[in-house]
Symmetry: C2
Subunit: 455 residues, 2 copies
């Protein structure tokens, strides 16, 4: 039942996609246009993002001009940039009409400086003013996430005045759960939650019911920290101020959810050495160089491991079973190490893990490595003894396994800290450095011990 609900959503999407594809192939663009423009912008964006590169431009040209702005906003950023690169300043300016200021800034920041100035010049004065107020802030900061469409009130108003003031609006900005209280100079003073506004006596003043113990978010705060604050406090929206405490705008939960999604996506993709922006349907010529770099780095580490084996050619020549069993030592070390590594990287990312409890974790990982090492070394030792009928070989294999699992625990726990202090992202480089260590140590210990006993 649950599964089928989940599948239904995906099947609906896939059915739509397959219809669009077959219509495109048969060249009936008019029907594609009808089908596309009956959908919500977010759905149109999904169809474009799920289509192979050669169909995307065709689909994009079929989207009604009035919704292109909203569609562009929902597209993955690398696809968005491709489309924007093909447009002139006036077309971009037209497209940004009706978008929220932070989304416009998002688009502008991906354009070359000259085009950006042209787009700004082509905007209406009010829009330009809104956009320019948050343009200086990087896209990964609170300022870059901020919307300027806020409703502000003064502390001396009565709630009745506020209610009448709101009735002059046709609607409130999306995700408005609070009005923002500011003074004449736009200094942030506090929040007036709608729930307070609705449940308090209309004759009280804003000052009496507003929440003034709230710290507004500084515009230069990193977006992942903004996300943590939202999660901790279950906020719907939060005010953003500049370094003088003046209100810049507000961040809403929907933009925070995007930050969380992108962060999670980044962690997942970087474990495979892939760029976070990688578009699932990127064309071949874009995909090749991105993947090639990581393969090249891995080739270097593989050659390093080979060089270690090479040192022991003589021993392998004598006991060829070593070549058969050495890969087990390396492989088990890699798996055990990546378990530790994943736990440590996650702990560091969530802020649970730091200098205070690192030593405890290290000691646990070593103990876990020792117990699991002994367990599987014992089993593998028996397998090897039976397989090759050589008890010495089996003992050496078991000892090498225990040592490599201990090294894996140490490396998995310590590498993220070492990489971080070298300013290298542990999520990206952790896996490859870890397996380099466990491969090299695994081959070195196993073949080294064998050389000592057999040579």
């Amino acid at each position: 039942m649950q599964q089928s609900a989940s599948e239904d959503l995906k099947n609906q999407m896939q059915a739509r996609l397959s219809k669009v594809q077959s219509l495109l192939e048969s060249g009936t663009f008019r029907q594609v246009r009808q089908l596309l423009n009956a959908l919500k912008p977010v759905e149109i964006a999904r169809i474009i993002a799920s289509s192979p590169p050669h169909s995307r431009k065709v689909l994009w040209d079929l989207v009604d001009k009035e919704v292109t702005g909203e569609v562009v906003e929902e597209l993955p950023s690398d696809i968005r940039e491709q489309f924007l690169r093909g447009m002139d300043a006036e077309a971009v300016a037209e497209l940004t009409e009706g978008l929220e200021a932070d989304d416009v800034v998002d688009i502008l920041q991906h354009l070359p400086e000259t085009i950006m100035q042209e787009v700004l010049a082509a905007m209406s004065e009010q829009d330009r003013h809104r956009v320019e107020s948050i343009l200086p802030y990087g896209k990964d900061t609170a300022g870059g996430l901020a919307n300027t469409d806020t409703i502000t009130v003064r502390p001396r108003f009565t709630l009745d005045v506020v209610l009448r003031y709101l009735r002059r609006h046709t609607d409130l900005p999306p995700s408005t759960d609070s009005l923002i209280v500011v003074n004449r100079k736009d200094d942030f003073l506090g929040l007036l939650p709608l729930s307070k506004l609705l449940t308090s006596d209309p004759n009280t003043t804003v000052r009496e019911v507003m929440e003034s113990d709230i710290n507004a978010i500084p515009a230069d705060m990193h977006d992942t920290d903004v996300a943590k604050l939202f999660e901790q406090h279950d906020w719907i929206s939060a005010p953003v101020v500049d370094d003088q405490g003046k209100l810049i705008g507000r961040i809403t939960i929907d933009d925070v959810v995007d930050v969380i999604r992108e962060g999670a996506d980044h962690s997942l993709m970087s474990l495979a050495g892939l760029d976070e922006e990688e578009d699932t349907f990127a064309p071949v010529f874009r995909t090749i160089p991105r993947r090639a770099i990581w393969l090249g780095i891995n080739l270097l580490t593989a050659i390093l491991a080979s060089a270690v084996i090479n040192v022991f050619q003589g021993t392998i020549d004598k006991v060829v079973a070593l070549a058969v069993l050495m890969t087990v030592v390396a492989s088990m070390g890699g798996v055990a190490g990546s378990q530790t590594l994943t736990v440590v990287i996650r702990g560091m990312a969530t802020g649970h893990l730091g200098p205070t409890n690192m030593r405890w974790l290290l000691s646990r990982e070593v103990r876990v490595g020792l117990v699991n090492g002994c367990l599987w070394a014992g089993i593998m030792g028996l397998v090897a003894a039976y397989w090759f009928g050589d008890p010495l070989l089996a003992v050496l294999l078991a000892v090498a396994l225990v040592i490599n699992l201990l090294v894996a625990a140490l490396a998995g726990a310590l590498l993220p800290n070492i990489l971080k202090s070298l300013k290298i992202d542990p999520a990206l480089a952790g896996g490859v450095t870890l397996t380099t260590v466990t491969d090299v140590v695994g081959y070195l210990v196993f073949l080294g011990l064998a050389t000592f006993f057999y040579a």
Copy 2:
């Protein structure tokens, strides 16, 4: 600047933690109690979750009784269960006072049936009624996420009546952005957004301004689909109905954010074969069995790869350089395959990838594998030719690399679908099955070719 803001938050947390730890060690529990209870529940929960297992119980006992409910709600679920297991029914009932119904259900669903009935019996009648209405729904469903603290209104009311009705409340439930319109039988009719309520003429009726084209969420919808709907529509809250269309409650964005976080965490941890619930500071005896299973599965696949090498003992005995180079073939295949695998699993999870565009993706992956295979096979071939002075060996290595990278592309693209049709989670089992394929094929092709040409 941004970096330091991010570090500040983590450092503050770590400083607090280190203070608590040193106070605990010196046995000054009174000060720990003061320090703890000056913090917000979410911060207390973080301190407990970041402490080694032996300190947790001590800290837990120092938390003020009034906030234990809120602290428990913020704890990772495996730690929460440990605490609850040590409490009697009355204590659990006391702890659930003041919690939202969905959080109470979350707690109850982890208790044995008999204890659960006792806890229910110990609750106030009103609380019991609220909880029992959503208890039948699984914790991964919309019903399980639903809160029962909704404000409902009738369509015939005027907005003025609604405003006066709201003023009788001291506050609105958290994340209330809409009132829910129902008839006398509690059938869901539509939503009255607060923004509409505040901007419309007080003399109009609810019926005239309510949004009735909204589909309420069915209680059995899977939570990840609920999250997708929230993301697509930028919802703050959404009504949940049973299969007769009767209102059960509403889901709020803060619970949806937790679903998104847990989903992302699950993807990350399952890539390392770790259980999603793994507590960073789980004690040794819990960690060992969890990790051991994955190591055991890997040992089986490593033995399989060894068995393949074993077949070619005779060839390795003749050309020992094969033992040095064979690991490069396996390693490169593993990396290339896991790149494809990650892209495919992500594409399937987001719903972008399905039967319609799978063929296109497969053909791209094969082309990328071919180009990158030829590139790195060429380079590695030159390295090997120079290293061992054996052009034939170099050519065989290059050919094996190209073939293994092609196989890796195919396996990375097809395995997730195969696993899914076998009802196995591709995120969990994809990596290990993939490297089994690339190891086996890598050794088989390289050593097989060598046997043909050298033997």
